[in-house]
Symmetry: C2
Subunit: 143 residues, 2 copies
DNA sequence: CACTCCTAGTTCGTAATACATACAGTTGGG
DNA sequence: CCCAACTGTATGTATTACGAACTAGGAGTG
């Protein structure tokens, strides 16, 4: 068959293009790892946001850049799997804190570690200096 | 635990985390630009894949990492908007070449330029040397 | 040619995603 | 107390994504 994609990766003169491809790679890794744990990428991302501790719906919508109605549904589905719980906020009775269950903690950690490990693997070709430089440069763009 | 001495505003000690955040940023930019042009991110991504020229369904599924049934639907919806056409391959009568229409070319270019421009804007804080270094480092990881 | 296997895409059914809109309960300021 | 603002849900719609089953066109072998 026709093989057109030979000269494809080597000519990387463009920073935005490199950024887009990096995003594509990360999305792919996230999708693979999620699937390994029987989660959708969105569900896995949600779980990862909760590892550090319970988060309210409003904060979650900001973190994941979703409308609140979308977040409601997402939390619904993850809650239905017993990975997450809605706990009433004691101070504000309108609000919930979304909290990982015991199973949820386990799965969230495994997913998070899976993503990190795979990304580390992809970055393994870098020297220590290059790693530090890349981290710093990404940090600068992300500010 | 590894702790680099690089201190930016945020505590960014971790390369994988930086990569994930970069991906999140790019996804966001893509979503915003797409929305400005009345496209979904997936539709915009498809259009961008076609800027260089017509592509068959099989190649598209590989490029976008989708199942062929998903790609069928995606092309359907974009074709229904008149942005893309299925053209029979002359050599293989099972195959199609997916091709941008005139409107499609216009919109694809605008979307592509929009994404590039916004990412350039985000990277504007980098010096020329830093830009080159970041591009090269991303390229190395992407291999 | 007949036969078989493979490939290119579609169709269909299902679940998840994402949004806008409309809604209910709560909070806090005047 | 009243009401605007806020927190989150419910509903309806379109899109996304997948797998399985399918059609039809190549491609190789006897």
């Amino acid at each position: 068959m026709l093989r057109t994609s030979v000269n494809y990766n080597r000519t990387m003169t463009d920073l935005p293009t490199a950024m887009v491809r990096m995003a594509h790679l990360v999305n792919h890794v996230f999708a693979e790892v999620s699937r390994d744990h029987d989660l959708t990428p969105q569900q896995a991302q949600l779980m990862c946001q909760l590892i550090a501790g319970p988060v309210g719906m409003g904060e979650l919508t900001r973190l994941m850049r979703l409308e609140k109605s979308s977040m409601s549904g997402l939390v619904d589905r993850v809650e239905r799997r017993g990975l997450v719980e809605r706990v009433r906020d004691t101070c504000d009775r309108r609000a919930y804190r979304i909290e990982l269950t015991e199973d949820g903690v386990r799965l969230a950690n495994k997913s998070h570690e899976g993503v990190i490990a795979e990304l580390e693997r992809r970055a393994a070709s870098l020297t220590d200096e290059e790693r530090d430089a890349l981290t710093a440069l990404l940090g600068k763009v992300l500010d």
